[in-house]
């Protein structure tokens, strides 16, 4: 078997006050495969993404486990080497396209920055590359967009720009952190389709963080279900939907609204399921000794 693009093993993280936010998380993203990470808000999905990309907030500390990017253990690298490696091989599609672009710089230079300064491309080559990617994300007038400031573009346009920027450097892994959450529903669909298309074309592995099982079903091949920083179920997407093993996964599916019967199907996760989860987590924490 090949080296996974991203391998997280036994990753635990705590806040400064000792509260565990990630509980021995292990997951792998195979090359060219989309792996979804689902869970409610606060479950630690984004935290895992941030840990991979090395931008955890200072209050969160990784206490055990490791993260390997294409077989290279990131924990063993010096900070600068790690930053450059992640910069070369990984990228982020952020959640909020409104704040993810620098308001006082034009789009073009912002997109070519990484190509020129981290990957050492020549300026005109980077320009051509970015123009080509903007074309791929179906932006009609790449030159005008590159000359624009972020506030001159709509939210959907900005998210396209960010997707193009993420794919521009041909990373092996993209962390997509709820990339459709801040957009309205009609745009969400287009953006999702776009990410799926580019992913296939470029063969990029994606760790797709989302709370939306509908999105999971559309885009991913594998799923990890996360609750309170603990992976409760891992499976390939079709079997997860056909035959969910964990009670929490079933409850999440039941809680997904359906257009056919919007009100009836909208029920919160069952009390007994939550109680079961609580005792499961308590048991895990009892056995766990902070290293």
């Amino acid at each position: 078997m090949s080296v996974p693009c991203l391998a997280i093993s036994n990753l635990s993280a705590t806040l400064a006050n000792g509260v565990r936010v990630l509980r021995s998380v292990s997951l792998a993203v195979e090359p060219g495969v989309v792996t979804a990470l689902v869970g409610e808000s606060g479950a630690g999905k984004s935290m895992i993404g941030k840990a991979v990309l090395g931008v955890l907030p200072p209050s969160v500390r990784i206490v055990e486990g490791n993260i390997a990017l294409e077989g290279i253990d990131l924990g063993e690298l010096k900070p600068k080497a790690r930053r450059v490696l992640v910069g070369e091989r990984a990228a982020l599609i952020p959640q909020d396209p409104l704040t993810a672009l620098n308001p006082s710089r034009r789009i073009g230079p912002q997109m070519t920055d990484r190509l020129v300064h981290i990957l050492g491309w020549a300026g005109d080559k980077a320009d051509r590359r970015v123009r080509q990617l903007l074309d791929e994300v179906q932006i009609r007038d790449p030159d005008r967009v590159m000359q624009s400031y972020p506030h001159e573009l709509s939210g959907g346009m900005r998210q396209r720009v960010l997707i193009a920027a993420a794919f521009a450097a041909e990373p092996r892994l993209i962390v997509a952190d709820e990339p459709t959450t801040a957009l309205d529903v009609t745009v969400q669909k287009q953006i999702l389709r776009l990410i799926a298309e580019l992913q296939k074309e470029h063969g990029t592995a994606i760790l797709f963080v989302t709370h939306d099982l509908g999105v999971v079903a559309k885009i991913s091949q594998n799923v990890s279900v996360l609750y309170a920083g603990k992976v409760v179920e891992q499976a390939d997407t079709p079997s997860l939907f056909e035959n969910p093993q964990h009670a929490y996964t079933r409850a999440l599916m039941a809680a997904t609204p359906r257009y056919t019967d919007p009100l009836a199907s909208l029920k919160p996760v069952d009390e007994t399921v939550l109680a079961g989860l609580a005792s499961e987590i308590a048991a895990a924490d009892r056995d766990w000794v902070a290293p």
Binding site: G54, V55, R83, V84, V86, T99, P103, R114, I118, Y149
Partner: protein
């Protein structure tokens, strides 16, 4: 769309009016020897306290009248502008450079750099600024350079506080995190991503600070602690005018008006430029 446009137009008028006055005053100061109708130092006791041109008893060639030693007021104001502008540009730039650099570092890096800079600023702010300036000039000795240094030493904290707060809020933005992920180092991010976003604030403050420097220089001249007493300065003329306010009000009023317009123009010009600079407001 009507409202933002109206705002822009008003901002433009402000920018042009303030900029116009500053340009006029600056050109007059630079070309003082060509423009000034009289020698600003020539005394003539026959012509003491002549009134301005529209009043009874004025003399042609002395447009704004003369002071108690018979020196031409307009010429003295024009020459006084030289000192005012040199101090404004030099002192404000020095304060801006030091204050913005420290503020940017403190705000962006946080942690111990921030703690050190913030404590220094706190201590600095505890000194009453004008007394501090007088003390500094007393220590350095009078002269143009010491006035400039004194103003820079007092007022760098103004830049530091504002730029620190701006840099802090920028440092939390997602695009800063994205640059981190892309592999950029902290100093590169500070200069490439954060600095352009605090630049409008720096520009506005710089202009405001020039106005403040003009005032502080005038205050120092007023208490006779600026440059040599021979050279005319606005503060010095005000101090002299105060002595003969009952006989000749114009000696006090004209330098005050000049000072007022200049300081006001600096602050308004800064605000106008800030809006020009800001891509979102533009």
């Amino acid at each position: 769309m009507a409202e933002p446009r109206a705002v822009t137009r008003r901002g433009d008028a402000r920018l042009w009016l303030a900029g116009g006055w500053l340009l006029l005053a600056l050109l007059a100061a630079i070309f003082a020897p060509l423009i000034a109708p009289q020698d600003p130092l020539a005394q003539d006791l026959m012509f003491e306290r002549l009134p301005p041109f529209w009043m009874q008893g004025s003399e042609p060639g002395f447009w704004l009248g003369t002071d108690s030693l018979g020196r031409d007021l307009l010429s003295r104001l024009i020459y006084g502008g030289r000192v005012a502008f040199i101090v404004a540009f030099a002192a404000a730039s020095a304060a801006c450079l030091v204050g913005s650099a420290l503020g940017l570092i403190a705000g962006y890096f946080g942690g111990w750099p921030d703690r050190i800079v913030s404590r220094i600023v706190d201590v600095w702010m505890a000194f009453p600024p004008v007394l501090f300036a007088i003390l500094l000039v007393a220590v350095f000795g009078t002269g143009l350079t010491s006035v400039i240094i004194a103003i820079a030493i007092i007022d760098w904290t103004r830049f530091c506080r504002v730029i620190r707060a701006e840099a802090m809020s920028q440092a939390r933005m997602d695009y800063v995190e994205n640059a981190r992920i892309a592999g950029f180092g902290r100093i590169g991010i500070m200069l490439r991503e954060v600095l352009p976003n605090v630049a409008p604030a720096i520009v506005a403050l710089l202009s405001l600070e020039m106005g403040i420097a003009v005032i502080v220089e005038a205050i120092l001249s007023f208490v006779n602690l600026s440059i040599s007493t021979d050279d005319p300065t606005w503060g010095g003329i005000i101090a002299e005018g105060r002595l003969s306010i009952h006989q000749a009000w114009w000696i006090l009023v004209f330098p005050l008006i000049t000072l007022f317009l200049t300081v006001l123009s600096f602050s308004q010009f800064g605000e106008g430029l800030k809006n020009r600079f800001d891509p979102v407001m533009r």
